[in-house]
């Protein structure tokens, strides 16, 4: 593989040919701000937030995400010219973006907000016409507020390139450009599979998780990394927890699922707090269940299992373990049947 050497902010870097300046900078720990870039999506070069200054290039400031690293290149990622250009990029975005951070779901987890803070963009300096769109609320999980969209296109790319669904795309041109569904009919009428990959990608508050609305900002929740409890892919995800309740899910990009989830993994946690949950042991008497204490219920189970074993032998007992519970619990369950009851009559639904 042919290698190229370049200098970024005074630091020498050697990378394989074809590497972008953005990737080369990351390799030596230099973070360049981005809005439209994602490591697993095609390069768009749309937002211009990642512009850098390349010595000898008087013409323009290239986008680091799309600019290949070249031999001998001398790059400045944070020069005054670069900072000024990024500030103008942000001012142009803010000119057509509601400054409603007070109530925005993305507050504290919004790259536009973060960069405006970093680059000192306080308010819209450009005035003019603003977009007016109604919020698409038809899907039970995904809310789309296109007035907040900065047209980075990551949602479009993830939907097409990763999910293979293509429920959304750009329509119109110029100022009227908008990300929307077929015939602007809304997500509910589209082939959308509610995976929420678009929410994961959205750098601002344009795409948000409806079930999490009003239940806590990103900085208010504790994030507990765990393994999804639905299918055998075993996706890694983080539950957002506030006041002992799950209020949302955060992606875990550094995982075999690359942060991607499906509709059940991302939105299917509500059952944990279902009023139908069993909260106390139940004993059936005369065909009806009544509540019981753990002491009473466990005593009864131990007694009954013991009686059957004494009367009919251990092989008259059987246990169905579970593909839903943990390894440790499956281990104990088969140990219980083999060591305590004395039978190999233990199975689970692997066959179903």
């Amino acid at each position: 593989m042919k290698m190229v050497s370049l200098t970024i902010d005074g630091r020498p870097v050697e990378v394989p040919q074809g590497t972008t300046v953005l990737e080369a900078a990351r390799q030596v720990g230099i973070e360049i701000p981005t809005l439209c870039h994602h490591v697993d999506l095609s390069i768009a070069g749309a937002c211009r937030m990642c512009v850098v200054e390349v010595e000898g290039n008087k013409k323009n400031l290239p986008a680091a995400c799309a600019q290949p690293a070249m031999e001998g290149m001398v790059v400045h990622t944070n020069s005054p010219r670069v900072r000024e250009a990024r500030k103008v990029v942000l001012e142009l975005m803010v000119a057509n973006h509601p400054l409603d951070c007070l109530t925005c779901e993305a507050n504290g987890n919004c790259k536009l907000q973060q960069y405006c803070y970093e680059y000192g963009v306080k308010e819209a300096t450009f005035t003019g016409e603003r977009r007016r769109y109604t919020v698409d609320e038809g899907n039970p999980f995904i809310e789309r507020d296109m007035e907040k969209c900065i047209l980075c296109g990551k949602c479009v790319r993830v939907c097409h390139e990763v999910q293979g669904v293509g429920a959304i795309d750009y329509t119109e041109r110029g100022f009227d450009t908008k990300v929307t569904t077929f015939m602007d009919n809304g997500l509910a009428e589209s082939p959308c599979v509610s995976c929420g990959q678009c929410i994961y990608m959205c750098p601002v508050g344009a795409l948000t998780a409806k079930p999490s609305k009003g239940k806590g900002r990103d900085y208010e929740v504790e994030k507990v990394v765990t393994t999804c409890g639905y299918c055998g892919v075993g996706c890694q995800l983080a539950f957002n927890v506030k006041d002992d309740h799950i209020v949302g899910v955060t992606n875990v990009p550094d995982s075999h699922n690359q942060g991607y989830l499906c509709v059940k993994g991302r939105f299917g946690y509500e059952f944990v707090d279902s009023p139908d949950r069993l909260t106390t042991p139940l004993i059936k008497e005369n065909g009806e269940f009544r509540e019981a204490s753990w002491e009473e219920a466990l005593d009864l189970v131990a007694q009954k299992l013991g009686e059957v074993k004494a009367q009919y032998g251990p092989d008259a007992l059987a246990g169905l373990s579970s593909a839903r519970v943990t390894n440790e619990e499956n281990y104990l369950f088969q140990k219980f049947f083999r060591a305590v009851i004395g039978t190999n009559n233990v199975d689970h639904c692997a066959r179903l």
């Binding site: 039970p140 390139e161 990763v162 599979v193 507990v224 990394v225 393994t227 409890g229 639905y230 055998g232 892919v233 539950f239 927890v241 995982s255 075999h256 699922n257 991607y260 499906c262 299917g268 059952f271 069993l278 909260t279 106390t280 042991p281 139940l282 019981a292 753990w294 219920a297 466990l298 009864l300 009954k304 059957v308 007992l317 059987a318 246990g319 169905l320 373990s321 593909a323 839903r324 519970v325 943990t326 390894n327 440790e328 619990e329 499956n330 281990y331 104990l332 369950f333 088969q334 219980f336 049947f337 083999r338 190999n344 009559n345 233990v346 199975d347 689970h348 639904c349 692997a350 179903l352």
Partner: protein
């Protein structure tokens, strides 16, 4: 899976058989999609239904339900006939090829077309594509296994991979996508009637001795126990008198539910441990409330053998307890102490007794999941299996032949019924059907029927019909769609009010004990008025 999820992107050809991946394993489907669109991989889909995967496929083979084995044998027939077999791999790494070569000799494309309905030319094209692949990866799920000949189906797949050298290297493999979150782990942990942890056989005296010593008991039972289907039958016959069910719902998930119900009602004592009062729990004498995975610590093992941590996010609801705590408390009452500080201590015991998990500790899992085999604490885990040699040394070819499904359509029950999952619900729906948004998108279990059949029967989209099999009948709503071929109807099994397993046939693969969910015969009746 012999190989890893990420390796799917490295395959040149993906052969996906009986897997509705976009719905049943959605995030794995993203890897398939990227393999095709980013890396130029070709996709062959073998499925009687026109799934999303079938729409992505370069070649889609649509066999009649239950004819997989003929199709797989046909593929191998063409691969051998056209000189596409990997002779070097066969010579160095395998044995018994001659027997398989002989067994598939009669499965010419024309013969296979007669059995399966797959056009001979399509079969040849698919065989050439897979046979010529530098890295061919086979994905399959229960569309292959849930047949009375499921074992033959899996063996026929293994024969294909062995004959083409698509094992023991990256981006290849025989990759069953396991269904439930911890079905792999439950098997690894010995929640099976014939093995302890890590598939150590109960019939091996040395293994029993090892576990008996570790567990501090005089001896352990030597006879292989009963499978789930045999346990249900045993309950019906009075052979099984007491049953302890933890986190399972056979009243929706098992074939021929009416039979399951009579059997469970025949028990002297039934205890069910679950997070909800399921259809099964309603039949119990005692119900013990367990916590969900969000309320406890532990590990799950996924389909690529990756052991990952489960962490407690919220406190137990009500008085519910973790399953491990309940089992330990019950054991103590029956005179056997299980004193564990927590799941981490249990994992230490598992690692000590299980060679493939020997190197797994909670400390190491903090840095991310580890794929077994992980034989010691320095071992990084195993991305793909069978690299230098197979577990048994040489890879064994097993000749198999096609046998028809146990119940085929006839005059009385003229349609094939095949069952499966949908994206928006999971298994018996105990969790997913308690999520408002999922119910809003998928409120009811639909019967998929081809427009031609619907027209002949005079039924309309959305109409409620009666579906009748030899076991019982249900009344689902109809969805008219060409996802199913004429003569075939499909139902998922997630909905108790339209429980497909009232209809399914409780016949099992004699080796795996898997029921034939994918093929039974039904008829459809219009409901008057």
């Amino acid at each position: 899976m012999t190989n890893s999820i990420e390796e799917i992107e490295q395959a040149n050809v993906i052969l996906a058989a009986g897997t509705n991946t976009t719905e049943a394993h959605p995030v794995i489907a993203t890897r398939v999609h990227k393999a095709i669109t980013r890396h130029g991989a070709k996709l062959i889909v073998i499925d009687p239904r026109k799934t999303e995967m079938a729409s992505w496929a370069h070649i889609w083979l649509r066999p009649y339900p239950g004819t997989n084995v003929a199709v797989f044998n046909g593929l191998l027939n063409v691969i051998i006939a056209e000189g596409l077999a990997d002779d070097e791999f066969i010579a160095q790494r395998t044995e018994n090829f001659a027997a398989v070569k002989e067994a598939v000799a009669s499965y010419t494309p024309e013969v296979v077309e007669k059995i399966s309905g797959v056009p001979a030319a399509d079969l040849v094209a698919a065989a050439r594509l897979y046979g010529q692949a530098e890295r061919g990866s086979i994905l399959y799920t229960m569309g292959v296994t849930q047949h009375t000949t499921g074992t033959e189906g899996v063996l026929a797949i293994a024969n294909l991979a062995l004959a083409t050298g698509n094992l023991g290297k990256e981006g290849t493999g025989v990759n069953p996508l396991r269904g439930q979150n911890n079905v792999q782990g439950a098997c690894d942990m010995g929640a099976l009637p014939n093995v302890f942890t890590g598939y150590q056989k109960v019939t091996d005296p040395a293994v029993r001795e090892k576990f008996a010593r570790a567990w501090g008991v005089a001896e352990l039972p030597a006879e292989v126990g009963l499978t789930i289907g045999q346990i249900i039958d045993g309950a019906g016959e009075g052979k099984i008198r007491a049953l302890y069910i933890m986190g399972e719902n056979p009243m929706l998930s098992d074939p021929d539910i009416n039979h399951v119900e009579t059997s469970l009602k025949n028990l002297d004592f039934l205890v069910v441990q679950d997070i909800f009062l399921t259809e099964t729990a309603r039949l119990a004498d005692v119900v013990l409330p367990a916590v969900s995975f969000a309320e406890k610590e532990g590990t799950f093992t996924n389909t690529e053998r990756r052991v990952s941590r489960v962490r407690r996010a919220v406190s137990p609801r009500g008085q519910a307890k973790a399953d491990w705590e309940i089992i330990a408390a019950l054991a103590a009452r029956m005179g056997y102490e299980m004193n564990y500080e927590g799941p981490e201590a249990i994992m230490e015991e598992i690692a000590a007794l299980t060679p493939s998990y020997a190197g797994i500790t909670y400390g190491r899992l903090e840095k991310g999941g580890i794929q077994w085999p992980c034989p010691d604490k320095e071992h990084p885990g195993t991305k793909y299996l069978h690299k230098e040699k197979f577990a048994r040394g040489l890879g064994l070819f097993n000749p198999v032949s096609y046998k028809p499904s146990a119940e085929l359509p006839d005059d009385e029950y003229p349609l094939y019924l095949t069952t499966g999952r949908i994206l928006y619900h999971y298994h018996t729906g105990t969790m997913s059907r308690r999520v408002e948004g999922l119910n809003a998108i998928a409120p009811t279990g639909l019967l998929e029927i081809n427009p031609a059949d619907a027209c002949e029967l005079g039924i309309e989209d959305g109409e409620v019909v009666r579906v009748v099999s030899r076991r019982g009948s249900i009344t689902p709503q109809v969805e008219i769609t060409d996802r199913v071929a004429p003569g075939v109807v499909f139902m998922n099994f997630h909905y108790r009010e339209a429980a497909a397993n009232i209809l399914t046939n409780a016949v099992y693969d004699p080796i795996s004990g898997i029921p034939e969910f994918k093929v039974s015969a039904v008829r459809i009746e219009r409901i008057e008025g």
